[in-house]
Symmetry: C2
Subunit: 218 residues, 2 copies
C-alpha cells in the first residue's frame, strides 16, 4: 500500500481516505449518516441498495477512518467518526460547485430552475425564529427528524407533503430544509408549495450544517 519513504507512505494514506470518498453511493451514505447514526438495513432502504452492498461500502469507509460503528443488540449503527469528516465533505462540495463542469451543469439545469429566489441564510432564519415571522418545515423522513431538528420545526416528509398541505399556514412564509445544501427534498418541497400558492423559501443548507455551526437544536 505504501512505497518507500515516509513521504510516499503519507500520501498513500491520504489517498486511501480520498478513495473512500470517491464513490457516489458512499457519499450518499455519508449524507444520511450526517443526520445521525443509522443501522445498515435502514441505510440500505433509504438509498435503495442491497444490504450486502451497503455493508461493503460501510466496511470500506470504516477501515479508512471515515466511520465508526457500535453494536446494539442485533443492529450495527454507523456514524461519522469525527466532525472533521463532515468538514471534508463540505470542502469537497465547495470545490465541486465552483470547479467541476459536470456539477455546475447539474446545478444550473435542475436546481437553479427550482430555486428562483434566494435561499434563506442560517443567520436570517435565526432572526425570523426570534420574532416568530416564519414557519420552519423539515421535509426529511420522520426518523431523521426524530434524531434532531431545528427548534420549532414542523416535520412533513416530502412524500406526505401534498396531502398534508392544510397543516401549513397560507399567509406566513415557510422555510423548508432537509439534509444539506443540495438535498433534493427541500428543492422539491419549495417548488410544490409555490405551485400551490404558498410563500416558501429554502434554507441555504441542512440540519447537519445548522448543528455544526453551534446553533440551538431540538
Amino acid at each position: 500500500m505504501s512505497s518507500d519513504g515516509p513521504k510516499q507512505a503519507l500520501f498513500a494514506g491520504f489517498a486511501e481516505l480520498a478513495k473512500a470518498l470517491a464513490h457516489g453511493h458512499r457519499l450518499e451514505i455519508l449524507e444520511v449518516l450526517a443526520q445521525g447514526e443509522r443501522s445498515v438495513e435502514v441505510l440500505a432502504g433509504r438509498i435503495g441498495l442491497p444490504v450486502a452492498n451497503v455493508s461493503q461500502h460501510l466496511r470500506l469507509m470504516r477501515r479508512a477512518g471515515l466511520l465508526a460503528s457500535r453494536r446494539s443488540g442485533k443492529h450495527v449503527f454507523y456514524r461519522p467518526s469525527d466532525p472533521a469528516v463532515l468538514e471534508l465533505t463540505a470542502a469537497l462540495r465547495r470545490v465541486a460547485e465552483r470547479n467541476s463542469s459536470e456539477v455546475r451543469e447539474v446545478i444550473g439545469g435542475y436546481f437553479r430552475a427550482r430555486d428562483s429566489f434566494e435561499p434563506v441564510s442560517r443567520k436570517e432564519l435565526m432572526r425570523r425564529l426570534k420574532d416568530d415571522s416564519a414557519t420552519v418545515l423539515d421535509v426529511r423522513p420522520d426518523d431523521e427528524f426524530a434524531a434532531g431538528h431545528l427548534p420549532g420545526a414542523v416535520n412533513i416528509p416530502l412524500r406526505d407533503l401534498e396531502r398534508r398541505l392544510r397543516e401549513l399556514p397560507r399567509s406566513r412564509e415557510i422555510v423548508a430544509y432537509c439534509r444539506g445544501p443540495w438535498c433534493v427534498l427541500a428543492f422539491e418541497a419549495v417548488a410544490l408549495l409555490r405551485r400551490r400558492g404558498l410563500k416558501a423559501r429554502r434554507l441555504e443548507d441542512g440540519f447537519p450544517e445548522w448543528k455544526q455551526s453551534g446553533l440551538p437544536t431540538a
Copy 2:
C-alpha cells in the same frame, strides 16, 4: 457517469472530484503545485516519475476541475484552479491525521522521532520575526523559493544543507519550513541541524498555508 436523478448526478460529480484526489502521486503533484505553477517536465523531475505518466495525472485532475493550465511557448504550466482546492487537501489531511490508522502510524513512527519539540506556530513566528529573534530557513528547492517565500527567509535546499551549515548562526534559533505540514524536508533539516548542535525547530506548516492565511510573503 451519472445515474438517474439529479441527486445521484450530483453525488457522482462530487465522487469524480474525490477520485481525482485519490492517488498518492496526484496528491504529491498537488503539494508541489501549491508552491506555485510548474511545467510538466519540472514536476516529473521533482517527484521522480515519467513525463507521460505525470501528464496523464495532470489531465485527469484538470478535467475534474482541480487544476488549471496555461501554455507559454513550449511549456504548459499547471496550477491549482482555486484556493478552495488547497482547503480541500488540508481537510483531507486533517481527517487522515486523526482517523486513519495507517497515517497515524507513519506519523508516530517517522515524524514524531524527528520532532521531539513543539513546532512553531505561524503566530509565534510572526512575533519572532518582528523582534528579530529567529532565523527563518527555507529548505525547498530554489525554484520554489523563487516563486515565493517567507519574509527574510534564507534558502538552503535540504540537499545542500550539510555543506552550507556555516551560513547559519549557531546562537540564534533557526525555524525551518518547506512545502506543508508533513513535508519531509523540514523534518530532516531540523534533525540534521540538531545533530550538529544548532538550535532548530520546525514551522507548523509550509509556505502555502502561510500565504493563504494572509501573512506577508516575499
